[in-house]
């Protein structure tokens, strides 16, 4: 039996009077890749931000392994250090080089010595294919390179899982591939990942499980083969037909 890494139960989140997440529950096991898809504005990104509590949740529980991290006395900083987060807009620290971006967490959060932190940071930068860009600042990197540094920054903390919030949505089409390639490799190596994305190709080929969200709830969940071929809900089918249409038009 594989170990459950994260469990979300009946999560609710509102902004003002608008309820964005209306009771979401799911869990993810070690080494799984779960992809969350669905129309814009259905709370996918909010869900990710609620998991590591960058956004405060209103109701519900989240467990990381067997610790309930939504309890008030929990040291959330320590928890966040073990949950990687990759942002749509990269958010590299602009005053730091790629190397410093990756090792600052090791040094300032984990209290590691510079030498040790540098060693790990260099390994992670090599892993995302940027061993030759370690002294570049954010502005000296392409979007795809920035996102790969930010993945290395998350990896360096040796997180129990990584949350990806539309990691390729802000990229030029020709840069998407290099980021997806890194993510595909991570999935192969057994990294536990939750990915919000509109990249259906990635979802189809990499996900163990797909969650389709609409209007703040999980409409359906299942392996890609099932969900793409025989969606149970009309809404899911409609979403896929729209996407297929779009991809078809691109092909023309």
């Amino acid at each position: 039996m594989t170990q459950t890494i994260l469990k979300v139960e009946n999560l609710h989140k509102s902004y003002g009077k608008t309820e964005v997440i209306k009771g979401v529950s799911f869990e993810i096991k070690k080494s799984e890749t779960k992809v969350i898809i669905g129309p814009s504005g259905t709370g996918k990104s909010t869900l990710l931000r609620c998991i590591n509590q960058l956004d405060r949740i209103d109701k519900g529980q989240v467990w990381l392994e067997d610790v309930e991290i939504t309890k008030s006395h929990i040291d959330i900083n320590q928890i966040r250090a073990s949950i990687g987060f990759v942002f749509q807009s990269f958010n590299l620290f602009t005053h730091l080089t790629a190397l410093d971006n990756v090792r600052i967490g090791l040094m300032r959060v984990k209290g590691m010595k510079e030498e040790e932190a540098t060693k790990i940071a260099l390994e992670e930068l090599k892993r995302v294919g940027l061993g030759d860009k370690i002294h570049n600042y954010q502005a000296q990197l392409s979007g795809g390179q920035q996102q790969r540094v930010s993945i290395a920054r998350a990896l360096a903390m040796s997180p129990k899982l990584i949350l990806f919030d539309e990691p390729t949505s802000a990229l030029d089409p020709e840069l998407i591939g290099e980021v997806l390639e890194v993510m595909v490799n991570l999935a192969k190596e057994g990294t536990t990942m939750i990915v919000v994305t509109h990249e259906m190709g990635f979802a189809r080929s990499v996900a163990n499980d797909i969650i389709f969200m609409d209007d703040g709830i999980i409409l359906e969940e299942g392996p890609p083969g099932e969900i793409f071929k025989n969606p149970k809900h009309k809404r899911t089918a409609k979403f896929f037909s729209k996407i297929t249409q779009l991809e078809g038009e691109k092909a023309k």
């Binding site: 960058l54 900083n77 966040r80 250090a81 949950i83 987060f85 942002f87 967490g105 300032r108 502005a139």
Partner: protein, 214 residues
């Protein structure tokens, strides 16, 4: 002699202003409403709304009447140091607010506390952005040290006046020399700050010369 005292005063005022101005700015941006409304804003408003000379008199003569006998230097330091803190806090506040919120979120996402995120991510960027405006504050504070004259501290201006009195000398000449000395100190200080701005610029974020034609 007087010149050195003026420089020392300016450094003391700016130093206190920096040390107090940073927490004021951080408190104003990140503090809850109690910190903001009961601590930060009253201090900032008080010291920005009262003329420097009045502040000096309040801290020297006013404090004296409350049996707090400050030396002229301490009174001047408190009045002008906190005054500079109020102005510096607004320079830093503007700089902090100009930094993308994604920076803070990314810092929190790798497990930094709010304090660490401010210390290691936000402030290093904000301080760099602050240098040009801070150079303005530096030149104001340096020149305002001449007001401390009124409390009897022998800074540059008072020294000048003594020289005029002692030597029955040419008052105009002495004051022109004083003016030149101020000019030179401000000038070299500003050059030093320009140098720091250049040295610590973040690649891609430097303020570029406009090259487009109007």
């Amino acid at each position: 002699m007087g010149t050195l005292i003026s420089i020392e005063l300016a450094l003391a005022f700016l130093g206190l202003g920096f040390v107090v101005g940073i927490p004021l700015a951080v408190g104003e941006v990140y503090g809850n409403k109690f910190v903001k409304n009961l601590a930060v804003l009253p201090i900032v408003e008080f010291f920005r709304s009262i003329p420097a000379l009045v502040l000096l008199f309040l801290f020297y003569f006013g404090a004296g009447s409350l049996n707090l006998n400050f030396s002229p230097f301490i009174a001047a330091l408190l009045a002008m140091g906190f005054r500079s803190a109020a102005y510096q806090s607004q320079i830093f506040r503007g700089a902090i607010k100009s930094i993308d919120v994604g920076q803070m979120q990314a810092a929190r996402s790798i497990g930094m506390s709010k304090f660490k995120a401010i210390r290691y991510i936000v402030l290093p960027q904000a301080l760099r952005i602050s240098i040009p405006s801070w150079s303005n504050e530096y030149s104001s504070v340096l020149k305002d040290t001449s007001l401390v004259y009124a409390l009897g501290v022998t800074e540059l201006m008072r020294q000048g006046r003594y020289i005029v009195a002692r030597t029955f000398g040419n008052a105009i000449l002495v004051y022109v020399i004083c003016a030149l000395i101020y000019f030179v100190i401000v000038h070299f200080g500003v050059k030093l700050l320009d140098f720091l701005e250049e040295k610590y610029k973040i690649p891609g974020y430097e303020i570029k010369k406009v090259t487009t034609r109007a």
